[in-house]
């Protein structure tokens, strides 16, 4: 069985048209990212079968779900998906327990009641089971919606900006659940968002949409350092790097993170050695020097080679660096660029002023 999803959809959308062709890996979280109204929710609905594109072609794990040319269209209920709507879309007339059981009862999972308990436990829904949706907070509603989708025995979990309607506090309440879902889910998750912070926290893969078209798709860690994508122009642009904790330093309260090209020293991370940690090094937190710096308060200095650079805004440049395979972005002024006479292929040292953890 081939794992993963391939799709091709065309669908008119008001002033422009959704016109996409791509693939989604069979594991991990793929984010559909872009401005509001770029067609990302529409693409998600096409994957779910809630929208019927034409022409359309969709294959999931080797099974054809939609092929307009051959007249195949699997209705949403027969696809085995979990769909989380923006504002939950819970059944208002049913208690939480019955909401959770709606898809569960109709799926092959109903023979495994322990699965119900596991999901209730994972999302901490126990105290809510006998309540009606009207008596739940926004964050609680979203947790129930996620649980209901998981209990539908899905091969594919689709989430349409599940945090968009929540305030900061409730976002913080849900994000850890999404992360734990990410770590233990055996099924692919497609996640629509327009929030870069959410993207960095949970996505492995990225499909970047613009005006109904795919601007780029690939690993988030790779796309985050592409100079030609709009993400590099954001004020908080920077490389996203998956690292592993190598050791802890009790005396100075520091941790050492390893990645294929080297090591970084960061403030103590309260996780065991060996855990995976995703970090972000913002372009604005890197400065460049030509010779190895002398004693300095900056702990992380990496030798690097200038790969390429681009002007971003007035008097500002963004420089892409290759640190033994690890790509970083640095934002400097045009004046500094001229003073250092930076050219592609030149050896420099990247001084990293701070490393942001996405915990």
């Amino acid at each position: 069985m081939t794992s993963g999803i391939t799709f091709r959809f065309q669908l008119p959308l008001g002033t422009f048209a959704l016109d996409v062709e791509g693939s989604i890996p069979g594991t991990g979280v793929t984010a559909l990212f872009g401005r509001s109204g770029c067609g990302k929710t529409c693409l998600l609905r096409c994957l779910a079968g809630l929208e019927r594109a034409d022409p359309a072609q969709l294959t999931v794990n080797g099974v054809c779900w939609h092929d307009s040319a051959r007249g195949i269209f699997l209705p949403p209920g027969q696809r085995g998906i979990g769909y989380v709507f923006q504002e939950g879309a819970l059944f208002p007339h049913l208690r939480v327990r019955a909401n959770l059981a709606f898809g569960f009862r109709r799926s092959a999972l109903f023979r495994r009641p322990e699965r119900f308990r596991q999901v209730v436990e994972l999302l901490q829904l126990g105290p809510l089971l006998e309540r009606l949706p009207a008596n739940l907070s926004g964050g609680e509603k979203q947790r129930v919606a996620i649980g209901r989708a998981l209990l539908n025995d899905p091969h594919l979990l689709l989430m349409d900006e599940p945090l968009a309607a929540l305030d900061r506090g409730h976002k913080r309440e849900i994000l850890p659940f999404l992360e734990s879902l990410h770590q233990q889910a055996e099924i692919p998750i497609v996640y629509v968002t327009h929030d870069p912070a959410e993207l960095v926290r949970i996505a492995d893969h990225l499909i970047l949409l613009d005006q109904g078209k795919i601007a780029a798709q690939g690993l988030l860690t790779e796309l985050s350092t592409r100079l030609d994508l709009p993400m590099a122009r954001e004020s908080d642009a920077g490389a996203v790097i998956d690292t592993r904790i190598l050791s802890h330093d009790d005396r100075f309260h520091l941790s050492t993170l390893g990645f294929p090209g080297g090591e970084l020293i960061v403030s103590w991370i309260d996780r065991p050695v060996g855990s995976q940690v995703r970090i972000r090094i913002h372009a604005k937190d890197i400065s460049l020097v030509l010779s190895p710096p002398g004693p300095s308060s900056i702990l992380n200095v990496l030798p690097a080679v200038v790969k390429d650079m681009a002007v971003h805004g007035r008097g500002r440049m963004i420089v892409r660096l290759d640190c033994r395979g690890l790509l970083l972005l640095a934002r400097i002024t045009e004046k500094s660029c001229e003073r250092l006479r930076l050219t592609p292929g030149m050896a420099v040292y990247a001084q990293i002023k701070s490393v942001a953890l996405t915990l």
């Binding site: 779910a48 809630l50 209705p75 949403p76 209920g77 027969q78 696809r79 998906i81 979990g82 769909y83 709507f85 923006q86 504002e87 879309a89 819970l90 059944f91 208002p92 007339h93 709606f102 898809g103 109709r106 799926s107 009207a134 209901r148 989708a149 539908n152």
Partner: protein
């Protein structure tokens, strides 16, 4: 109350009950379709259903009489089928009442169906519920206040009708004579006391029904 009045009351209740059941069976799918369809000819169906609201009942009754009489298209067909006519029978009365009260059943149901959040129905379809399943386990329970309003209004409106019944039912005691016509008879023959009993009864009944409907709607409004 005279025995004739009691018979009229019985005919009226039976008519209202049978009509309401049929109205719900016909009106629910029509209302669901009207609430969900984007077909261009939908407004024609909507206007047709709403006609009894504006037409004088006599107009409706007149055309029904032509339709249902032994040499009319529907009446003739019925005659060859069953050997009996439709005009001036209880069955004819039911047909007239159903048509006449249709908007009172369809409109509250249509509004209730239209008020259901689209994502809620979509959620049901992603959760393995097919069309019928979705309708009975999500749409209908969510439209229950509309269903109650439709039932009570359909029932009460059938009890109160006069014109259509007079045109196609005539005034046959024990068969087609209903309360509203019995009242008319009493007034014609100057039996005001009898007319009072029936009229006051209908007045109180209608008022109570409306109070119940409004209370139901207020409660449903407060819930959602």
């Amino acid at each position: 109350m005279m025995t004739d009045d009691i018979t009229a009351l019985w005919v009226t209740l039976r008519l209202a009950l049978v009509s309401t059941v049929i109205l719900l069976l016909i009106g629910t799918p029509i209302a669901w379709w009207l609430a969900r369809s984007r077909a261009p000819f939908k407004i024609l169906v909507e206007a047709l259903v709403a006609l009894p609201l504006v037409l004088p009942p006599t107009v409706l009754g007149f055309y029904l009489l032509l339709l249902l009489s032994a040499d009319g298209p529907a009446g003739g067909f019925w005659h060859t089928l069953t050997g009996t006519g439709l005009a001036f029978t209880f069955t004819g009365l039911v047909i007239g009442s159903v048509l006449y009260s249709l908007p009172f059943v369809v409109q509250p149901l249509q509004n209730a169906f239209a008020a259901i959040d689209e994502p809620v129905l979509e959620a049901a379809s992603t959760l393995r519920a097919g069309g019928m399943d979705r309708f009975f386990s999500v749409a209908l329970p969510l439209a229950r206040s509309g269903l109650l309003t439709a039932t009570t209004l359909g029932f009460a409106h059938t009890i109160g009708e006069f014109g259509v019944v007079l045109m196609i039912g005539g005034n046959i005691p024990g068969k087609t004579q209903v309360l509203s016509i019995a009242i008319y008879d009493h007034v014609e023959s100057l039996q005001y006391a009898q007319a009072h009993i029936l009229s006051a009864g209908l007045l109180a009944f209608s008022f109570i029904i409306l109070v119940l409907v409004y209370r139901m709607n207020t409660r449903a409004g407060a819930r959602s």
